[in-house]
Protein backbone atom coordinates (compact mmCIF):
# COMPACT_ATOMS: atom_id res chain seq x y z
CA UNK A 1 0.00 0.00 0.00
CA UNK A 2 1.27 3.48 -0.92
CA UNK A 3 2.17 5.79 1.96
CA UNK A 4 -0.67 8.21 2.79
CA UNK A 5 -0.24 11.68 1.29
CA UNK A 6 -0.19 14.37 3.96
CA UNK A 7 -2.87 17.02 3.48
CA UNK A 8 -3.61 20.28 5.34
CA UNK A 9 -6.72 21.42 7.20
CA UNK A 10 -8.23 23.26 4.20
CA UNK A 11 -8.03 20.17 2.00
CA UNK A 12 -9.37 17.89 4.77
CA UNK A 13 -12.31 20.19 5.56
CA UNK A 14 -13.14 20.57 1.87
CA UNK A 15 -13.78 16.82 1.72
CA UNK A 16 -15.02 16.27 5.27
CA UNK A 17 -18.74 15.81 4.59
CA UNK A 18 -18.10 13.50 1.65
CA UNK A 19 -15.70 11.60 3.92
CA UNK A 20 -18.46 11.19 6.53
CA UNK A 21 -20.87 10.13 3.77
CA UNK A 22 -18.36 7.43 2.65
CA UNK A 23 -18.37 9.03 -0.79
CA UNK A 24 -14.63 9.59 -1.29
CA UNK A 25 -12.34 7.33 -3.29
CA UNK A 26 -10.10 5.05 -1.19
CA UNK A 27 -6.94 7.21 -1.50
CA UNK A 28 -8.68 10.50 -0.60
CA UNK A 29 -10.57 8.78 2.21
CA UNK A 30 -7.27 7.63 3.76
CA UNK A 31 -5.77 11.13 3.40
CA UNK A 32 -8.68 12.78 5.21
CA UNK A 33 -8.76 10.03 7.83
CA UNK A 34 -5.03 10.39 8.49
CA UNK A 35 -5.32 14.17 8.81
CA UNK A 36 -8.19 13.86 11.31
CA UNK A 37 -6.12 11.45 13.38
CA UNK A 38 -3.29 13.94 13.76
CA UNK A 39 -5.15 17.28 13.86
CA UNK A 40 -7.04 18.07 17.08
CA UNK A 41 -9.02 20.93 15.52
CA UNK A 42 -10.22 18.90 12.53
CA UNK A 43 -10.93 15.96 14.84
CA UNK A 44 -13.30 18.20 16.86
CA UNK A 45 -14.95 19.46 13.69
CA UNK A 46 -15.42 15.89 12.44
CA UNK A 47 -16.94 14.82 15.74
CA UNK A 48 -19.37 17.76 15.62
CA UNK A 49 -20.44 17.11 12.01
CA UNK A 50 -20.93 13.41 12.73
CA UNK A 51 -23.09 14.13 15.78
CA UNK A 52 -25.17 16.63 13.81
CA UNK A 53 -25.62 14.02 11.06
CA UNK A 54 -26.74 11.48 13.66
CA UNK A 55 -29.30 13.92 15.05
CA UNK A 56 -30.64 14.54 11.54
CA UNK A 57 -30.81 10.81 10.88
CA UNK A 58 -32.86 10.38 14.06
CA UNK A 59 -35.21 13.13 12.89
CA UNK A 60 -35.88 11.06 9.76
CA UNK A 61 -37.77 8.43 11.76
CA UNK A 62 -41.40 9.17 12.54
CA UNK A 63 -43.38 6.81 14.71
CA UNK A 64 -46.08 5.55 12.40
CA UNK A 65 -48.46 4.67 15.24
CA UNK A 66 -50.97 1.83 15.35
CA UNK A 67 -53.72 3.47 13.30
CA UNK A 68 -51.44 4.34 10.36
CA UNK A 69 -49.80 0.92 10.43
CA UNK A 70 -53.28 -0.62 10.36
CA UNK A 71 -54.21 1.59 7.37
CA UNK A 72 -51.17 0.33 5.45
CA UNK A 73 -51.80 -3.30 6.46
CA UNK A 74 -55.41 -3.00 5.26
CA UNK A 75 -54.12 -1.57 1.98
CA UNK A 76 -51.60 -4.42 1.65
CA UNK A 77 -54.31 -7.06 2.26
CA UNK A 78 -56.11 -5.79 -0.86
CA UNK A 79 -53.10 -6.62 -3.07
Amino acid sequence: MKPVKTIGCDEALKHLLEYLDQELGAAKHREVEHHIEVCRSCFSRTEFEQRLKNRLRDAGRESSGESFEERIKTLLRRF
Binding site: L17, E18, D21, Q22, E23, S41, S44, R45, F48, E49, R51, L52, K53, R55, L56, R57, D58, A59, G60, R61, E62, S63, S64, F68, E69, R71, I72, K73, L75, L76, F79
Partner: protein, 207 residues
Protein backbone atom coordinates in the same frame (compact mmCIF):
# COMPACT_ATOMS: atom_id res chain seq x y z
CA UNK B 1 -41.81 -11.01 -4.97
CA UNK B 2 -44.61 -12.43 -2.84
CA UNK B 3 -47.06 -10.30 -0.90
CA UNK B 4 -45.88 -11.50 2.51
CA UNK B 5 -42.24 -10.55 1.78
CA UNK B 6 -43.35 -7.18 0.41
CA UNK B 7 -45.50 -6.50 3.50
CA UNK B 8 -42.61 -7.40 5.83
CA UNK B 9 -40.27 -4.97 4.07
CA UNK B 10 -42.85 -2.16 3.95
CA UNK B 11 -43.82 -2.49 7.62
CA UNK B 12 -40.13 -2.66 8.59
CA UNK B 13 -39.46 0.62 6.77
CA UNK B 14 -42.72 2.35 7.71
CA UNK B 15 -41.21 4.78 10.27
CA UNK B 16 -38.47 5.78 7.81
CA UNK B 17 -40.91 6.17 4.91
CA UNK B 18 -43.22 8.28 7.05
CA UNK B 19 -40.30 10.35 8.40
CA UNK B 20 -39.09 11.14 4.87
CA UNK B 21 -42.64 11.82 3.66
CA UNK B 22 -43.26 14.16 6.58
CA UNK B 23 -40.18 16.26 5.84
CA UNK B 24 -41.07 16.38 2.13
CA UNK B 25 -44.80 17.10 2.49
CA UNK B 26 -44.42 19.04 5.76
CA UNK B 27 -47.70 17.83 7.30
CA UNK B 28 -48.79 14.49 8.71
CA UNK B 29 -51.99 14.13 6.68
CA UNK B 30 -50.27 14.58 3.30
CA UNK B 31 -47.31 12.48 4.49
CA UNK B 32 -49.56 9.51 5.32
CA UNK B 33 -51.29 9.81 1.94
CA UNK B 34 -47.88 9.96 0.24
CA UNK B 35 -46.72 6.75 1.96
CA UNK B 36 -49.98 4.98 1.07
CA UNK B 37 -49.60 6.09 -2.57
CA UNK B 38 -45.96 4.92 -2.52
CA UNK B 39 -46.90 1.46 -1.22
CA UNK B 40 -49.60 1.09 -3.88
CA UNK B 41 -47.26 2.17 -6.68
CA UNK B 42 -44.45 -0.03 -5.38
CA UNK B 43 -46.68 -3.12 -5.44
CA UNK B 44 -47.99 -2.26 -8.92
CA UNK B 45 -44.41 -1.86 -10.20
CA UNK B 46 -42.85 -4.68 -8.16
CA UNK B 47 -41.43 -6.35 -11.28
CA UNK B 48 -39.18 -3.34 -11.83
CA UNK B 49 -37.20 -4.31 -8.70
CA UNK B 50 -34.52 -6.56 -10.15
CA UNK B 51 -32.48 -7.03 -6.98
CA UNK B 52 -34.33 -7.61 -3.69
CA UNK B 53 -31.32 -6.17 -1.80
CA UNK B 54 -32.09 -2.80 -3.45
CA UNK B 55 -35.63 -2.63 -2.01
CA UNK B 56 -34.87 0.35 0.24
CA UNK B 57 -33.50 2.79 -2.40
CA UNK B 58 -36.10 1.47 -4.83
CA UNK B 59 -39.07 2.33 -2.59
CA UNK B 60 -37.55 5.71 -1.62
CA UNK B 61 -37.22 6.47 -5.33
CA UNK B 62 -40.96 5.75 -5.71
CA UNK B 63 -41.77 7.93 -2.69
CA UNK B 64 -39.67 10.85 -3.95
CA UNK B 65 -41.06 10.63 -7.48
CA UNK B 66 -44.63 10.49 -6.13
CA UNK B 67 -43.92 13.63 -4.08
CA UNK B 68 -42.31 15.52 -6.99
CA UNK B 69 -45.07 14.50 -9.33
CA UNK B 70 -47.70 15.74 -6.84
CA UNK B 71 -45.81 19.05 -6.57
CA UNK B 72 -45.85 19.46 -10.32
CA UNK B 73 -49.55 18.62 -10.45
CA UNK B 74 -50.37 21.20 -7.82
CA UNK B 75 -47.88 23.64 -9.37
CA UNK B 76 -46.87 24.26 -5.78
CA UNK B 77 -43.15 24.60 -6.43
CA UNK B 78 -41.97 27.74 -4.70
CA UNK B 79 -40.71 30.23 -7.27
CA UNK B 80 -37.42 30.49 -5.38
CA UNK B 81 -36.71 26.91 -6.51
CA UNK B 82 -36.59 27.75 -10.19
CA UNK B 83 -32.96 28.84 -10.22
CA UNK B 84 -31.90 26.90 -7.17
CA UNK B 85 -28.87 25.34 -8.84
CA UNK B 86 -27.47 28.82 -9.39
CA UNK B 87 -28.35 30.08 -5.94
CA UNK B 88 -26.97 29.70 -2.46
CA UNK B 89 -23.33 29.43 -3.56
CA UNK B 90 -22.11 31.32 -0.50
CA UNK B 91 -24.16 29.13 1.86
CA UNK B 92 -22.07 26.09 0.90
CA UNK B 93 -19.16 27.43 2.90
CA UNK B 94 -21.15 28.29 6.05
CA UNK B 95 -20.00 26.26 9.03
CA UNK B 96 -22.02 26.06 12.23
CA UNK B 97 -18.97 24.60 13.97
CA UNK B 98 -16.87 27.64 13.07
CA UNK B 99 -19.55 29.92 14.53
CA UNK B 100 -19.84 27.94 17.75
CA UNK B 101 -16.21 27.02 18.29
CA UNK B 102 -14.32 29.16 20.76
CA UNK B 103 -10.74 27.89 20.68
CA UNK B 104 -9.61 30.07 23.56
CA UNK B 105 -12.00 28.41 26.02
CA UNK B 106 -10.53 25.96 28.49
CA UNK B 107 -10.50 22.34 27.38
CA UNK B 108 -13.42 21.23 29.59
CA UNK B 109 -15.76 23.80 28.07
CA UNK B 110 -17.29 22.66 24.80
CA UNK B 111 -19.90 25.04 23.25
CA UNK B 112 -20.38 22.78 20.22
CA UNK B 113 -21.35 19.87 22.44
CA UNK B 114 -23.56 22.08 24.62
CA UNK B 115 -25.32 23.33 21.48
CA UNK B 116 -26.05 19.81 20.23
CA UNK B 117 -27.30 18.78 23.67
CA UNK B 118 -29.75 21.68 23.74
CA UNK B 119 -30.87 21.25 20.14
CA UNK B 120 -34.37 19.78 19.94
CA UNK B 121 -35.68 17.47 17.26
CA UNK B 122 -38.23 20.14 16.36
CA UNK B 123 -35.41 22.65 15.78
CA UNK B 124 -33.92 20.29 13.19
CA UNK B 125 -37.31 19.60 11.63
CA UNK B 126 -38.02 23.33 11.33
CA UNK B 127 -34.65 23.94 9.70
CA UNK B 128 -35.18 21.12 7.17
CA UNK B 129 -38.74 22.27 6.43
CA UNK B 130 -37.49 25.81 5.72
CA UNK B 131 -35.21 24.63 2.89
CA UNK B 132 -36.34 25.16 -0.72
CA UNK B 133 -37.89 21.97 -2.10
CA UNK B 134 -34.89 21.06 -4.29
CA UNK B 135 -32.49 21.26 -1.35
CA UNK B 136 -34.95 19.67 1.07
CA UNK B 137 -35.34 16.65 -1.18
CA UNK B 138 -31.60 16.02 -1.37
CA UNK B 139 -31.20 16.48 2.42
CA UNK B 140 -34.04 14.04 3.11
CA UNK B 141 -32.49 11.42 0.84
CA UNK B 142 -28.86 11.88 1.95
CA UNK B 143 -29.06 12.89 5.60
CA UNK B 144 -32.31 11.46 6.85
CA UNK B 145 -32.35 8.29 4.76
CA UNK B 146 -28.61 7.82 4.25
CA UNK B 147 -28.80 7.02 0.55
CA UNK B 148 -25.60 7.09 -1.53
CA UNK B 149 -25.02 10.03 -3.91
CA UNK B 150 -25.31 7.69 -6.90
CA UNK B 151 -28.68 6.42 -5.67
CA UNK B 152 -29.92 9.99 -5.15
CA UNK B 153 -28.71 10.97 -8.63
CA UNK B 154 -30.71 8.04 -10.04
CA UNK B 155 -33.83 9.02 -8.09
CA UNK B 156 -33.69 12.69 -9.10
CA UNK B 157 -32.46 12.08 -12.64
CA UNK B 158 -29.48 14.43 -12.24
CA UNK B 159 -25.69 13.86 -12.42
CA UNK B 160 -23.83 12.89 -9.22
CA UNK B 161 -21.98 16.25 -9.37
CA UNK B 162 -25.32 18.05 -9.09
CA UNK B 163 -26.20 15.98 -6.02
CA UNK B 164 -22.83 16.94 -4.46
CA UNK B 165 -23.26 20.65 -5.09
CA UNK B 166 -26.93 20.75 -4.04
CA UNK B 167 -26.09 18.85 -0.87
CA UNK B 168 -23.20 21.18 0.00
CA UNK B 169 -25.41 24.23 -0.39
CA UNK B 170 -28.35 22.60 1.38
CA UNK B 171 -26.14 21.72 4.35
CA UNK B 172 -24.79 25.27 4.46
CA UNK B 173 -28.32 26.70 4.47
CA UNK B 174 -29.42 24.20 7.07
CA UNK B 175 -26.50 25.05 9.36
CA UNK B 176 -27.09 28.76 8.86
CA UNK B 177 -30.78 28.33 9.83
CA UNK B 178 -29.74 26.37 12.94
CA UNK B 179 -27.24 29.11 13.85
CA UNK B 180 -29.85 31.87 13.49
CA UNK B 181 -32.30 29.83 15.56
CA UNK B 182 -29.64 29.07 18.17
CA UNK B 183 -28.97 32.76 18.65
CA UNK B 184 -32.68 33.64 18.83
CA UNK B 185 -33.40 30.85 21.31
CA UNK B 186 -30.32 31.57 23.40
CA UNK B 187 -28.76 28.16 22.76
CA UNK B 188 -25.33 29.69 22.40
CA UNK B 189 -23.28 31.47 24.96
CA UNK B 190 -22.08 34.93 24.05
CA UNK B 191 -18.55 34.83 22.71
CA UNK B 192 -16.19 35.50 25.58
CA UNK B 193 -13.22 37.62 24.73
CA UNK B 194 -9.86 36.32 25.87
CA UNK B 195 -8.54 38.09 28.94
CA UNK B 196 -6.53 41.03 27.76
CA UNK B 197 -3.24 41.47 29.49
CA UNK B 198 -2.24 45.08 29.78
CA UNK B 199 1.38 45.78 29.06
CA UNK B 200 1.15 49.23 30.50
CA UNK B 201 2.49 49.67 33.98
CA UNK B 202 -0.20 50.09 36.62
CA UNK B 203 -0.14 52.75 39.28
CA UNK B 204 1.29 50.22 41.76
CA UNK B 205 4.17 49.33 39.45
CA UNK B 206 5.35 52.86 39.28
CA UNK B 207 7.91 53.51 41.87
Amino acid sequence: MDREWFEGRVIGLLDELLGAALRLAKNRHDAEDLVAETVTKAWANRRSLKDAERFRPWIFRILTNAFLSECRKRAARPTADVAVDDAGETDASFSLFEELHQPFLLWWSNPEKEFLNKLLREDLERAVDALPETFRTVVVLAELEGLAYGEIAGILGVPVGTVRSRLARARGQLQKALWVHAQEAGLTRPARKPVEVSHEASEDDRV
